[in-house]
Symmetry: C2
């Protein structure tokens, strides 16, 4: 492998440093005019116009913000355990974290994709990738709960995911890190021979939203970074950026920044689907987990999957193409018409904009410039709509307003730039504070952008808010894009790394939002569907407490006869049937979190007593004026004690069912 | 035990339900006037005026909000593991979760107390209680990091904590749930004979902030709910509310709501301290953990403590008193002069306000009305300043503006009420949406309130924001209290349960905020203080990777020779020395979270490889334009493989130091 001279590397770093310093010295407040306060103020009792769903980056979660207020409405736990409501700690939710690597309690969530019908948001589901231990999750937008997590086998760094097709047919999901596929104990220096990428097509059931891994396309060992699927005229095609087409395995900062151009992968996924359905793939044994929440019982279950189908472009023609794209691109974005495809080459001075029609003509004419592993490389010039010259430094991501304008973030020069997609003319540029990664415009990646706002997600905050010690919140900046010039109107800190977002009109989610779970539909096997069903049973050393919560008592609230060595399962059913009356549950000394149980739900906390004595439990959610009174005691006796297993409420005690 | 007739209970519930329903039908927007948008808008690049530190309730954490913007500046992890930055997952932070019950990864954080000097905030530390598995934590306000957690032994439900004295001498911390002390396997029905409360005095070192358990005062088996310590003239005294003076052990909602009055405990803590120092306490063997972060190495360590000193009021006269207080009180609040003590009887129609001078005279005159376990009960009328009649339903907490006014939250009637402390006259009432628990006024519990704003922390949100399924954010409502009438100006959702808060002028925190850790002061034993110190060593099956991070590479980034069965410790040192340049670290398949490492810090991630192959690791924080290139590979071979342990960067590989 060629090594980069170190002076190249030093010059590059210096350039970055200078850019960052100069932008830091601008003053944001000078760009503000007029009525920003009124534009962003949502008065008490009024609602925001949009939901913005932001990936949490290294938090592994999703946050839902209201726009234009910038208020954090909810953090939705997805890939990381969440003690706040017991996700990952309750027995029902633990299976969501199962993978072929065991229980993995964290991930790095990057790209949110709202489900689409005919290229427009339909408000049903939200998909997000786990980058570190490759997974895709689905959130149900009626409950704002993670209902499914599908592992992607044999790959590393599922960064380039889960980009959705026009009718939510597939989530195209490429791999950031190439690895031996299947895994093998080989030298890292054998990268070019042994390491591969995979582009994974995850099918989505159109009715249920359920995911399944359809097929995996084996690709050269590059780093696949971001993608979009065609829409309208380009429906049926996927476009993915790659970097490290140098195939470096060490010091990528230098060694993957050698070539002037990397490659954009272009996939005819309808052709791939045909090959897959025709049995032209290779089935391979593997292992990955599919975790799903049963919404009626509230219990998640894991299934280990054992086979996968690989499609090899070297053997299956007319399926995959490459075209050169300027240096180390990040985003690959397609305008609402489906015609223009933007390559954001982050280390390039210019941006390449491709024409779908020209790409198709280039393919048709077999106007190729060689191939890589049998994958034809399209002639760069032939596919190009044109070049956007000197738009800024470090372009990362572009979205659209549906009026012919594109908006791109520039990480290094810390700005957002508005430009005309057809004419390739710069229309406006505004500073951001500082270093934006992605941006979002409501519907800005769909056939029907809603426009109005642009949110830049900035990676460096520094002096933007009151300091919080060395660790600072990242920030989001809200621009009004209704006029010719973009106007910065609000700056709000965010949770985790607000890596990427999609925003959708509230009217598409709000009417379907579930208020509580109907108790009569609760199929949890340990549910108590009324206080009369509360009981305690023993099976060997497992004690099951069927407990109910209703304002303002737990039943039973006195339990005796637990012994050291027992595993106690508190199954709490919240009997309330009204909106916003959760009950919580905690027991002293648990090596566990709390349970937060919504009306009509049952959740289970496992508790292993630590010493004999009498221990308190209580409702953790301030549910009523008598919430402080909503508590109870559990008595723990030494192993083998003759204290009888009894339970009760208000001293009306009953003996428990026991089988030893 | 007497059982409550069920009709009493039904009537009470009905009353609550009616109150809640009627308040829900009001419309918040009608109370808004004029310039609320301008009053709460903090323009991009400008700062909030106050930090509001809110306890997270069932999240176990603390959130720092800016006022008046309501922006979430940071969630500070305290009692609950926090995958977002690796707290509780890094080797350095795990000891913070040690307790006498083992590793406890969650708690319920209720009351924040900022350190005080001479009865005013001094901006140094912040203390908060863990309610479920009794603990108190200290946060360093220069770093916004949890630096100490002290377990409180032998108690249950450390709700009534950690209320600070005028010069941060002590944190008075009473127990919500009485239990056998020390623990014993006794019938729950023996509550009255066997169950006790403890009021714990935790001493705070005036220089370092370090906590230590000084003494525990044994108290009757009531539920101790909230407390304040005297200030000015009343300095040296603690005041604690109790409920369940009925000593019920089941169905407290009914059985602990029997008596018309409960008791306020009054403690002469200077007398208690004298007794303690004179050896008049009883030393008892116990077990509790004291966990402290060494700020120079960043490593937390646990010490098991084994003795405690109990002071018995029955044997030690003139130390503890009771006085009756209206039914089931929550807050006990003292005005800035130290003279007026407010008992917020949540089930009473009136509020009792005591006079410190009169209480002292009552004690002096031995004007007692019997005793409980040798603790004299002061004559209620003698200690009273007066009664605030019919202020609202369900008073919970009162703070002050320093101008003679008190502000009380009413949970059931959903309002905040302003009243004259001296004259006991209602001055204003404003609706809240809905059911406020605590409120905060900046400095409102100190000798020097800053006034200006009032934040009500509401327990029920329902229709206040865009819906997020069954689980909704709780809310905070910001009132402008500069005029005669309170004005609701902002409504913002919060994280966890915003149980309680204190707000402090930003100017008292901001100048001392640490920007990064000086690398030359890093004493972590596995730190690499420069890239030249990066290395890999093996000791048996433990492999230590001394790794560095600087924009934009990790060193080493290629590691071979790891074997199945190894425990790999990645010790990542962030070499940056500038503000807001964290680096993160994650490795595929870890049954662990990420590390988020601030400049100058070292943190350690334990990884146990799951299968042979080549696995990726990468920086998880978007740190530079070449962040996507900041990655590496670790090769895992089968156990006993002869692949040599080597590491390198840019193919300049070195053999690792090995001792087997």
């Amino acid at each position: 492998m060629m090594k980069a001279p170190f002076h190249v590397y030093s010059v590059l770093l210096l350039a970055l440093a200078v850019s960052l310093t100069s932008c830091s010295q601008q003053n944001a407040t000078t760009v503000l005019e007029g009525n920003a306060a009124e534009l962003t103020y949502v008065a008490p009792g009024e609602y925001d116009e949009f939901y913005a769903f932001m990936s949490g980056g290294y938090s592994g979660q999703i946050t839902a913000y209201g726009l234009p207020s910038g208020r954090l409405l909810k953090e939705i736990p997805v890939f990381s355990v969440y003690p706040e409501n017991g996700y990952g700690f309750s027995e029902e939710s633990k299976p969501m974290f199962n993978t072929s690597y065991g229980f993995v309690p964290w991930d790095d969530s990057h790209h949110i994709e709202l489900s689409q019908t005919d290229g427009e948001f339909d408000g049903r589901w939200l998909f997000v990738n786990g980058n570190n231990t490759p997974r895709i999750a689905r959130v149900d937008l009626t409950t704002f709960e993670t209902v499914e997590i599908l592992e992607i086998p044999d790959v590393a760094g599922l960064h380039c995911a889960p980009f959705i097709t026009e009718n939510s047919e597939y989530l195209v999901s490429g791999t950031r890190f190439s690895v031996p596929i299947p895994q093998a104990d080989v030298p890292i220096t054998s990268f070019k021979e042994n390491f591969k990428g995979l582009i994974n097509y995850v099918a989505v059931d159109q009715e249920s939203g359920e995911m399944s891994l359809a097929f995996q396309i084996e690709m050269p060992g590059f780093n696949y970074d971001l993608a979009r699927n065609g829409k309208g005229k380009s429906h049926g095609w996927s476009f993915l950026t790659t970097y490290n087409s140098e195939q470096a395995h060490t010091l990528l900062e230098v060694n993957a920044s050698q070539k002037d151009k990397d490659l954009l992968a272009i996939i005819d996924w309808k052709k791939a689907e045909e090959y897959f359905k025709a049995g032209r793939g290779t089935e391979r044994t593997t292992s990955y987990y599919h975790n799903q929440l049963d919404e009626s019982s509230g219990i998640a279950a894991s299934t280990e999957m054992t086979t996968t189908t690989i499609l090899d472009p070297a053997e299956l023609p007319d399926m995959v193409y490459f075209i050169p794209v300027p240096k180390s691109p990040h985003g690959c974005d397609i305008d609402p018409t489906g015609e223009y495809i933007v390559g954001n080459g982050k280390l390039s001075a210019d941006m390449s904009i491709y024409s779908f029609d020209k790409l198709m003509a280039t393919i048709e004419a077999k106007d190729f410039d060689g191939d890589i592993n049998g994958i034809p490389i399209l002639n760069y010039e032939s596919g190009l709509h044109g070049i956007l010259k000197k738009p800024g430094l470090g372009p990362l991501h572009t979205e659209f307003d549906g009026k012919g304008n594109a908006y791109t973030t520039f990480f290094i020069s810390s700005e957002v730039v508005k430009w005309d997609v057809e004419k390739l003319e710069i229309l406006d540029r505004q500073s951001t504070f500082y270093s934006p990664g992605h941006l979002t415009i409501p519907g800005g990646e769909t056939k029907k952008p809603f426009g109005k706002y642009l949110v830049a997600m900035n990676k460096i905050t520094k002096d933007r808010y009151l300091p919080t010690g060395p660790e600072l919140a990242h920030s989001a900046q809200l621009f009004d894009i209704t006029g010719d010039k973009m106007k910065l109107i609000l700056d709000f800190p965010t949770k985790g790394e607000p890596h990427y977002a999609q925003a959708i009109p509230a009217s598409m989610i709000q009417p379907n939002s579930k208020k509580f779970y109907a108790i009569e539909e609760n199929t949890h096997p340990y549910a108590s569907l009324g206080e009369g069903q509360a009981k305690v049973t023993r099976e060997g050393n497992q004690v099951h407490v069927y407990m109910t919560a209703i304002r303002s008592h737990l039943a039973p609230d006195n339990i005796e006869g637990i012994q050291m060595g027992d595993e106690v399962y508190f199954h709490l059913t919240n009997l309330e049937q009204d909106w916003d009356v959760p009950h919580g549950f905690a027991v002293q000394g648990a090596n566990n979190a709390e349970l937060l149980v919504m009306p009509g739900q049952t959740k289970t906390l496992k508790w292993e007593p630590f010493r004999p004595g009498v221990f308190a439990f209580y409702c953790t959610d301030f549910c009523s004026a008598l919430h402080q009174e909503m508590s109870g005691y559990v008595r723990v006796s030494p192993k083998g004690s003759d204290v009888e297993l009894v339970w009760g409420l208000n001293d009306e005690n009953k003996s428990a069912q026991t089988s030893r």
